[in-house]
């Protein structure tokens, strides 16, 4: 190759690099735009939606789902999924509440730690099934979704733990604010930042992406795939356990049905947040934004005096709109990239290559 050819090529690729950076940012931009639209429009119709008190409420409402979405992201980037989170939350919430109610002597931090460990154990069951026994994650965790809930039901036997049974100090965790920010939201934020940093800056974190991106290659690269997958599930379980006690502290009334069906909300948040469901890409920040968007929609509909019967439909429509908006933005950028003679193979009109395609 001649020197000139080399230089033009280098220039071309540098331009490409800046664009790639931009695309990377755009991945979360789509959802930020959607969030902006949601808050802007709702605030315009009813300004009370944008008061600090209201924003606090929304933060508080999204804290638990956001935390679950962060945990779920850990699992999803490895090309797995954990449907059992809602059952783990239920189990942990009930377990924690029961201990607090029946053994008032146990210190609160010990109860919280216990719940986290309980969640981690459930996560370990999932992790071993998926990582060691090679049961597809969807099957394994659909199974443990039923199984953990069954244990919860058997344990509760129709019992309900009420606010009056739990110590005030514990319940106040669910409502207290620090510097005007709800404590639960702070906990979620800390979890988000820590996990986000680990995924981006630790070898182990990057290896999770590698596993999800190409599992066979991960083995060949000497990555301890099994160990990493188990770890991702355990971490997700631990976060679900933490979310469980948070749930108990927040709602005060706990029975065996706590959080039933929440797994779909969590997955929706992750998917809306731009985490590729077939692994390998996406960030916890996106997932947390997804959770914020979903709870934002629920709150906005409540504030907008939308007819109750229409809420579900509008919720679904807005969810779809967010996904489509995100996709259209991504397509725009991809097209712009190609026009700048940048290397591009995945023509969005054609089926994306392989099934690893991150379709979002």
């Amino acid at each position: 190759m001649t020197a000139t050819a080399t230089r033009t090529e280098a220039v071309r690729r540098n331009g490409g690099r800046r664009l790639v950076d931009r695309v990377a940012r755009v991945r979360e931009l789509g959802i930020v735009v959607a969030l902006g639209l949601l808050f802007g429009v709702t605030g315009a119709v009813n300004p009370s939606f944008l008061t600090t008190a209201s924003l606090r409420d929304i933060l508080l409402n999204s804290a638990i789902v956001a935390m679950l979405a962060v945990g779920q992201t850990l699992v999803v980037v490895t090309r797995n999924v954990d449907l059992s989170v809602s059952s783990v939350v239920g189990l942990s919430a009930f377990g924690g509440a029961l201990v607090l109610a029946d053994h008032p002597g146990v210190p609160i931090p010990a109860v919280i730690a216990g719940c986290v460990v309980l969640g981690a154990l459930c996560g370990a069951v999932n992790g071993l099934l998926v990582g060691a026994a090679k049961v597809p994650a969807l099957v394994a965790t659909l199974g443990t979704l039923y199984a953990f809930r069954g244990i919860d039901f058997a344990w509760a036997g129709g019992r309900q733990v009420n606010a009056a049974d739990m110590p005030e100090g514990f319940l106040s965790l669910g409502t207290r604010s620090v510097l005007g920010v709800p404590l639960l939201a702070l906990v979620a934020l800390v979890v988000l930042l820590v996990v986000g940093w680990m995924l981006g800056n630790l070898r182990a974190g990057r290896e999770l992406y590698a596993i999800g991106s190409n599992p066979e290659a991960a083995v060949l690269a000497g990555i301890r795939v099994r160990r990493r997958i188990v770890a991702a599930f355990v971490a997700n379980g631990a976060l679900a356990g933490l979310a469980g006690v948070m749930w108990a502290a927040r709602f005060g009334t706990v029975d065996a049905t706590v959080a039933t069906g929440k797994e779909l909300d969590v997955i929706a948040a992750v998917v809306v947040g731009g985490v590729a469901i077939f692994g390998g890409s996406g960030t916890v920040y996106g997932a947390a934004l997804g959770a914020l968007l979903l709870t934002g929609i629920t709150s906005a509909l409540a504030v907008l005096r939308v007819d109750a019967l229409a809420q579900t439909a509008i919720n679904g429509a807005l969810l779809l709109a967010a996904i489509v908006l995100d996709r259209v933005l991504a397509l725009r950028v991809a097209a712009a990239l190609r026009r700048r003679r940048f290397h591009e193979t995945t023509d969005p009109v054609e089926p994306a290559p392989g099934r690893t395609a991150d379709g979002s």
């Binding site: 190759m1 690729r13 690099r17 990057r206 992406y209 990555i223 290559p353």
Partner: protein
């Protein structure tokens, strides 16, 4: 040489079910020496590689590291022992950046976790050594096969291993990159690294290696010093018989135009490409890696949408972006990436062969299993496919045999225009000759063949006409008589305009 080998195999065997892929093979790799492993497709070369890298555990026999027996429980163990491997098929993480691919698991660490700047610098340095122009931050998804292979090479180099195993690293590369790679390999050799090199291009073995071990049907045949043998000797050891001429191109009379491409443009990919292919003619599309040859083929076949221009087959214009329409018009495309584009790895051999021609084996609305199998068997035999059962998944076939399945799939359709993209990539000498004979026969029977190839001897030997692409444009059209290594390379590197 009487040093101890760094890594050696002693009497190892490995069977997959009934297939005895490797039978009591011994092999010794010495520091400062490039050792070649030769054999036909399915001879067991890649299996040996995977034993050396800890992917497979041998059924019997021993692996010795510095003369001491070791057991590799997995790739991680082999890596720790200083073995770096470039596998036959790229093993990249498409979602991650090129530099992360290179340093996965060994990312340089700074105070706050991974030190991206150091990683970028490291990648750039490796690319510099290989003369590759890749952006370290670019995601691996979408890299051409050649670029993927180059990243694989960089990855292996970055390990600074004592043993470097390369399973057909050059199959996807053209001359320039191969030369660079060899330069790097020689440097490593002189630094005392032991190298194992596999290639179906015999001239490469003779250029780079000192010793060659030959396998046939999984069994050890011979170990020779390269200096002691000729290419013909090597072929005889591999095949066990004499081979006919390598490029038996028949002279044919070109008929009317079958494929007519006019001013075809896909923005940012290729521009203003016009050419004809006539019946009975083999037209080669040459060029450097990344010149856009495959992209033209993809567009013509309807995989990608073109932005301007037209494609006609037998005088009828093709609908853009529809492989179905292209197939109905008699077009066939053997794609360059057999794993992603050519084959459905989980499906059986017969299902893969049948996939493109389901309409031909129909009985009413149903598929006739008998007809499907008959067709598959017919073509498997014609292409000398090495297989146990037609119902085996293609994923268990060796690389070359997989390539044959892709060929069979398309030839079984009896296309009138055949586009083959790197048809002999990873195919052994014997079969390569067969593929060439086949292409030449097809042309003789009136098929118009467009052949994309990065192998100059193949281009020169097979083509009636050579089209050369440079940076997304047709740079030259050279008739067979004028086609020489020099003229083609000149056009490919943009040094001459036709």
């Amino acid at each position: 040489m009487n040093e101890t080998p760094v890594l050696s195999l002693s009497q190892v065997s490995k069977a997959f079910g009934a297939v005895r892929a490797v039978r009591e093979v011994s092999l010794a790799l010495f520091p400062g020496e490039v050792h070649a492993l030769a054999g036909e497709n399915g001879a067991g070369k890649s299996t040996i590689v995977k034993i050396l890298s800890g992917v497979h555990r041998p059924d019997s026999g021993r692996i010795l590291l510095d003369g001491e027996p070791v057991e590799f429980g997995g790739p991680a163990d082999a890596q720790r022992a200083g073995v770096a491997v470039i596998y036959q098929e790229p093993t990249l993480f498409p979602d991650l950046s090129v530099m992360e691919n290179i340093f996965m698991g060994r990312q340089p660490r700074g105070r706050l976790g991974i030190d991206r700047r150091a990683m970028r610098a490291g990648a750039a340095e490796l690319f510099g050594r290989l003369g590759v122009h890749l952006d370290p931050d670019q995601p691996a998804r979408g890299l051409s096969i050649a670029d993927q292979q180059l990243v694989e090479i960089a990855k292996a180099l970055s390990r600074q291993a004592r043993v470097l195993v390369m399973d057909e690293p050059t199959a996807a590369l053209s001359g320039t990159e191969v030369a660079r790679l060899f330069g790097v390999a020689r440097t490593l050799r002189s630094q005392g690294c032991a190298l194992l090199f596999i290639s179906h291009r015999l001239e490469e073995i003779f250029e780079l290696c000192r010793r060659v071990t030959t396998l046939r049907d999984g069994a050890y045949v011979a170990e020779d010093l390269i200096a002691d043998i000729t290419p013909d000797d090597l072929v005889r050891r591999m095949v066990g018989r004499e081979l006919e001429a390598l490029f038996p191109k028949q002279e044919t009379e070109a008929g009317e135009v079958a494929l007519k491409v006019r001013r075809l443009t896909r923005e940012g990919v290729f521009t203003d490409v016009s050419f004809d292919v006539r019946r009975g003619e083999i037209v080669a599309l040459a060029g450097l890696v990344g010149a856009g040859r495959s992209e033209v083929a993809r567009a013509v076949f309807g995989i990608d949408r073109w932005d301007a221009g037209s494609v006609e087959v037998d005088g009828r214009r093709l609908r853009p972006a529809s492989p179905t329409a292209a197939m109905a018009a008699g077009l066939a495309l053997v794609p360059e990436d057999r794993r992603q584009q050519g084959l459905v790895m989980d499906l059986s051999i017969e299902r893969n062969i049948g996939l493109a021609g389901l309409a031909d084996v129909r009985r009413g609305p149903l598929v006739s299993r008998a007809a499907e199998r008959e067709r598959a068997r017919d073509w498997a035999v014609r292409l000398r496919l090495k297989f146990a059962r037609l119902t085996d998944a293609v994923s268990v076939l060796s690389g070359g045999n997989q390539q044959k399945v892709v060929l069979a799939k398309w030839l079984a359709r009896r296309p009138s225009v055949l586009i083959v993209d790197e048809p002999t990539r990873g195919i052994d000498v014997g079969t390569k000759a067969e593929v060439h004979r086949l292409l030449s026969e097809l042309a003789a029977s009136g098929v118009a063949v467009l052949m994309i190839s990065s192998e100059l001897p193949e281009v020169l030997g097979m083509a009636d006409r050579v089209l050369v692409m440079h940076e997304g444009r047709l740079a030259a059209e050279i008739p067979r008589a004028d086609a020489t290594e020099e003229s083609v390379m000149a056009a490919a590197t943009g040094r001459s305009r036709a």
